[in-house]
């Protein structure tokens, strides 16, 4: 419908208008504060006027109408006909939003969307006349401005006019204020207010020295420079190896020119961070109205430049943080007065360069973080025990606000408090190799500091080696290099089979790079390895490597599509010697190695504690199967001994139940799902559960996969055999309640096999139903009768009822009373005091173990170590077995 020229014109219009609107937004906020500033008003007026004029020209009636009505109000402000009011500015801002909305839709569909703006127009008209000082007749928003037959420097239809002429046409287009003021005789001669003229001239000269270049062109340039840098590096490498080369001098030149070129091209990608701040004044203004707070936003260092790619990535986190400061940080005027502070709260946003980084600070002079409230919240969420909380400093407590789902806002407001926030901010910043820190003083304010690399395209990296392969590790993640030796005071300790690095007074989890990568051949001699201390702000760990080479400026190349799903790598690069190496993603290495336990073990302050707080939060290996009517079902792999394909012809029936000869015995086969029939021919896949000489088989239709997933189970009762459902690989999957099936199978077994008197009663205390279901069948299979309790409170009720147990197994982290207090309560009890107590916890740092044993546990086991637990129970209870 539109010609190509028109399309070009439209896209140009969209780009320009978008920029203008950004300016209008922040200018209006300034104007509201300085209603007397005619300069600002003139600028705003001109921008809106230009938008209006262009709309009429391109034929966008809806847009034009809104702009026109807004301009009417602005015109009256400019002429001092009516005073500037907050309501008036709000309505104008609303119309700017409306214009933005229409523009967004224009950009997508090329046509103006249909819609009704009459309410907005009325409000604008209201604002235009409502508080008019002079009883002026309302400007009746007549027909569009006479369409100037102008065009933007390229020919359009017949009337070819230059940009300047177009500009002139816009300027001379009658604004509504003129229609009013000079009723019948519109004079174009002094359409512009006097003070504007010189400024316009200045803007024009600046415009002439800059030109718009598409981002694609810049990206291409950057890519080519990257290639050049690589080639340069290769050449340098060759020359370095050959003595006395005649290439040396010209190569030096090439090298320095390349470096300058690289810098220059980088510069073209640089944008002032102010571009990311453009929206902030408006955001803060809206917030202050919404929240009833007086807020001043001070921005410094807006000219500090950084790569546009990085800029795009931090825009949203920054906005979010400012919103947070306004909502959570600053107090209401009354509270501020009471605290002896000025009514108006201040949010300072600043930026400056520091080495290869940009440091952004967001600071408020509000109430500061309330450590007590956060502590209470941590306790309530069960993220740390009371004891741990006592030992944590305020700074450690504060870091919990970066925790997923953590919000201390008392009520959920429109602005924040939805619990998605600071954790997302942290993740976003860490994704680009940045770090976030915070400091806070109660009553005085909070300060967030973000440190991010200037660019993501070229970065310094440490080249490390393991098992004969080299990898690049971005230097931003590297805190220090440690060589393990007696002299250096650092040593490696093994605790529960996991290696830890003792570095000065810190205990760091140690991650073996070759193990994470699954490659063999790395040095086993712990005195021969290097340890790279990786610090990502939120996680800190030692990465053990065989060799450390030099650091190199590497050009980051994106991963090939086929490799993109590998979380361990963030990119590829070519080294000076021409070889390709993979760039490691430090954050996912920490995660994949630590099963979430990558945090500083000694500080024990964040995420992992949440992960281990509930048994099911860590990663579980799950067997995914399909059977009967059920689409997908998962069985905890820890329970499965092996997978067998049983010949269907060998399935027999015994007492009406299917059985199969397995290793010289009859093994009952249980269909795992409703509506499932066993195969009558071919192979029947079976998941076999074995303990000692007993086995039971769960028949499934198909074994789909084995996955490692973090299980979040939504419990569902009522369906026998199904513990609940969880989302695995994005698909809702039912989790098999193995205990249900094993009890079915083992019921006969106990009657036939269990030696009389050997049966002992165990109490299992764990708040996680999933875990209770997992451990119960294991203990049952070992010949124990299990009574589950969902927490110490329930367990102690059993005690009061006079129930006795031969041994008690308890989790440590539980909401309400925790395992430690529970153990102490049991030990101090006359009735239960002598019962053997076993701790089974996912927190098994040495300090945790010690604390458990102090509290009265006989032994302490990791949750995965059920074999150790059972062996220990067997041993503890065996001698008594004779007496019983």
């Amino acid at each position: 419908m539109r010609g190509k020229i028109m399309d070009d014109l439209l896209s140009e219009f969209l780009t320009e208008t978008a920029e203008s609107l950004e300016i209008v937004d922040s200018e209006l906020v300034r104007f509201e504060r300085e209603p007397g500033n005619r300069d600002i008003l003139s600028r705003i007026f001109r921008l809106v006027h230009t938008i209006k004029g262009t709309c009429g020209f391109i034929g966008l009636p809806r847009l034009e109408k809104v702009a026109h009505h807004a301009e009417t109000v602005l015109g009256k402000y400019r002429d001092g006909v009516i005073p500037v009011t907050q309501d008036g500015v709000t309505v104008i801002l609303k119309s700017i939003d409306c214009i933005k909305g229409i523009l967004a839709s224009l950009a997508q569909t090329q046509t103006e969307p249909a819609g009704d703006d009459s309410a907005l127009l009325e409000a604008l008209d209201e604002a235009a006349k409502g508080e008019a000082l002079v009883a002026a007749a309302p400007a009746p928003a007549p027909a569009p401005v006479e369409a100037p037959a102008a065009e933007l420097s390229r020919p359009l239809k017949a009337g070819e006019v230059t940009l300047d002429e177009l500009e002139a046409a816009f300027r001379s287009a009658p604004g509504p204020q003129e229609q009013k003021a000079e009723a019948a005789a519109p004079s174009h001669a002094h359409a512009l207010a006097q003070p504007e003229a010189p400024e316009t001239a200045k803007t024009e000269t600046i415009a002439a020295q800059t030109l718009r270049v598409s981002v694609d062109v810049l990206e291409d340039l950057m890519n080519m420079v990257s290639e050049l840098v690589l080639t340069r590096n290769q050449l340098m490498d060759i020359v370095r190896r050959s003595e006395d080369s005649e290439f040396k001098v010209p190569l030096q030149r090439l090298s320095s020119v390349t470096a300058e070129l690289q810098e220059a091209v980088m510069k073209t990608r640089m944008q002032p961070i102010g571009n990311a701040w453009g929206k902030l004044p408006r955001v803060v203004r809206d917030l202050s109205t919404e929240l009833g707070k007086k807020i001043e936003l001070v921005m410094t260092g807006a000219e500090t430049e950084l790569d546009r790619q990085v800029l795009e990535l931090i825009k949203d986190p920054l906005t979010h943080m400012v919103r947070n400061s306004a909502d959570h940080g600053l107090e209401r005027p009354a509270d501020r007065r009471a605290a002896g502070k000025p009514e108006t709260g201040t949010i300072r946003v600043s930026a400056h360069h520091e080495g290869g980084h940009i440091v952004i600070a967001i600071e408020d002079d509000g109430r500061g973080l309330d450590a007590a409230k956060i502590r209470a919240k941590i306790a309530e969420r069960g993220l740390a025990s009371d004891d741990e909380l006592k030992r944590m400093s305020d700074a450690q407590i504060y870091r919990f606000i970066f925790h997923a789902g953590f919000s201390t806002a008392e009520k959920v407001t429109n602005v924040s408090g939805r619990g998605v926030g600071m954790d997302v901010v942290r993740t976003n910043i860490e994704q680009i190799g940045g770090a976030i820190e915070l400091s806070s003083t109660q009553g005085q304010g909070t300060r967030f500091t973000i440190k991010i690399p200037l660019t993501l395209a070229i970065l310094p990296a440490l080249i490390v080696g393991t098992a004969g392969q080299r990898f690049a590790l971005p230097q931003t993640a590297v805190a220090e290099l440690v060589r393990v030796s007696a002299e250096s005071g650092s040593k490696i300790e093994m605790i529960h089979g996991s290696p830890l690095l003792r570095l000065r007074d810190e205990l760091l989890p140690l991650v073996m790079l070759n193990e994470v990568l699954g490659i063999s051949g790395a040095s086993r001699d712990l005195t021969q390895i290097f340890i790279v201390v990786v610090d990502l702000g939120s996680q800190r760990f030692g990465l053990a490597v065989d060799a450390v080479f030099d650091t190199e400026e590497i050009v980051v190349k994106p991963l090939a599509a086929m490799l993109r799903q590998l979380p361990l790598y963030s990119g590829t690069t070519i080294l000076g010697d021409g070889s390709v190496i993979m760039i490691l993603d430090a954050a996912s290495i920490g995660q994949s190695a630590g099963r979430g336990e990558t945090d500083n073990a000694a500080k024990a302050t964040n995420d992992n504690n949440a992960a281990s707080g509930h048994g099911e939060a860590g990663k579980e290996s799950l067997l995914l199967v399909r059977a009967g009517d059920v689409k997908l079902m998962a069985i905890p792999l820890a329970l499965v001994t092996r997978l067998e394909d049983v010949d269907a012809a060998r399935i027999e029936s015994s007492a009406g139940r299917p059985v199969v000869q397995y290793r010289g015995r009859l093994m009952p086969l249980l269909p795992i799902a409703a509506g499932q029939t066993l195969r009558t021919e071919g192979k029947q896949p079976v998941a076999v559960f074995t303990d000692g000489e007993r086995s039971a088989g769960l028949a499934v239709d198909e074994i789909v996969d084995i996955v490692d997933e973090r299980l979040v189970i939504e419990m569902r009762s009522g369906i026998p055999g199904i513990a609940g459902s969880a989302i695995i690989n994005g698909v809702s999957t039912e989790i098999a309640d193995v205990s249900h099936f094993l009890v079915q199978a083992y019921a006969d077994w106990f009657e036939r096999k269990a030696p009389p008197g050997a049966e002992r009663n165990l109490l299992v205390v764990d708040d996680s139903a999933f875990f209770r279901n997992m451990i119960a069948p294991l203990l049952a299979a070992a010949g124990y009768r299990v009574t589950p309790a969902s927490g110490p409170e329930q367990a102690l009720r059993l005690k009061e009822q006079g129930v006795k147990f031969d041994a008690i197994i308890s989790d440590i982290e539980m909401p309400g009373m925790d395992g430690i207090s529970f153990a102490m309560a049991v030990r101090n009890d006359a009735q239960w005091g002598g019962t053997p107590l076993f701790a089974l916890s996912s927190r098994n740092q040495p300090a945790d173990v010690e604390r458990g044993l102090m509290a009265g546990f006989n032994a302490y086991f990791a949750k995965a170590d059920h074999r150790g637990l059972i062996a220990c129970i067997d041993e503890t209870l065996a001698p008594k077995g004779v007496a019983a």
């Binding site: 290639e227 080639t231 490659i519 086929m562 490799l563 390709v580 084995i706």
Partner: protein
């Protein structure tokens, strides 16, 4: 190193009358790649292995400053791996702006064959191969399987992300 083959600008689908194929070998089996889809033929230099990647991916390598993902065609065709130290040749193909190197045992001649003689996949062709084949040419001495390059490059995404780390 570099391509000695005339890179035909002819459309790869132009099997209509006479079509040229680069012949390659994995084991004793001859395969043909439509010449229009072949960007390069080269002897791969050092291939960097990518731990944790799919077994079909032999690694990554540097071809004149560009990073190439090397695919072991023996693995892709579910054949046994060649003994260590056997010669390897690569055929460079491009998809979605990314370069892939298909690793074969050796490269043969370029053959121009009448399109009419392209026969559909024989019924007894291994199931794993039928998906990768566009049909076969019965040459005097042997059969040449025409590889379907996009299918060859369709390596299960996320296949190994779901197996145990």
């Amino acid at each position: 190193m570099s391509a000695e083959l005339p890179i035909s600008s002819a459309d790869s689908n132009a099997i209509s009358d006479g079509a040229a194929f680069v012949t390659v070998f994995a084991g004793n089996q001859m395969f043909g790649l439509p010449i229009g889809e072949v960007r390069d033929v080269f002897k791969p230099a050092v291939i960097t292995r990518v731990p944790q990647s799919d077994g079909v991916i032999a690694g990554v390598l540097n071809l004149r400053g560009r990073i190439v993902t090397a695919i072991s065609m023996r693995a892709r065709l579910l054949m046994d791996a060649a003994p260590d130290g056997s010669p390897v040749m690569a055929v460079g193909v491009e998809q979605d702006g990314e370069l892939y190197g298909l690793l074969f045992d050796r490269i043969g001649d370029v053959l121009t064959l009448p399109a009419a003689s392209l026969a559909p996949n024989p019924a007894n062709l291994a199931a794993a191969w039928t998906g990768l084949s566009r049909g076969v040419f019965r040459l005097k001495e042997e059969l040449m399987i025409v590889l379907n390059v996009p299918e060859v490059l369709r390596i299960m995404q996320g296949a190994q992300a779901s197996t145990k780390a």
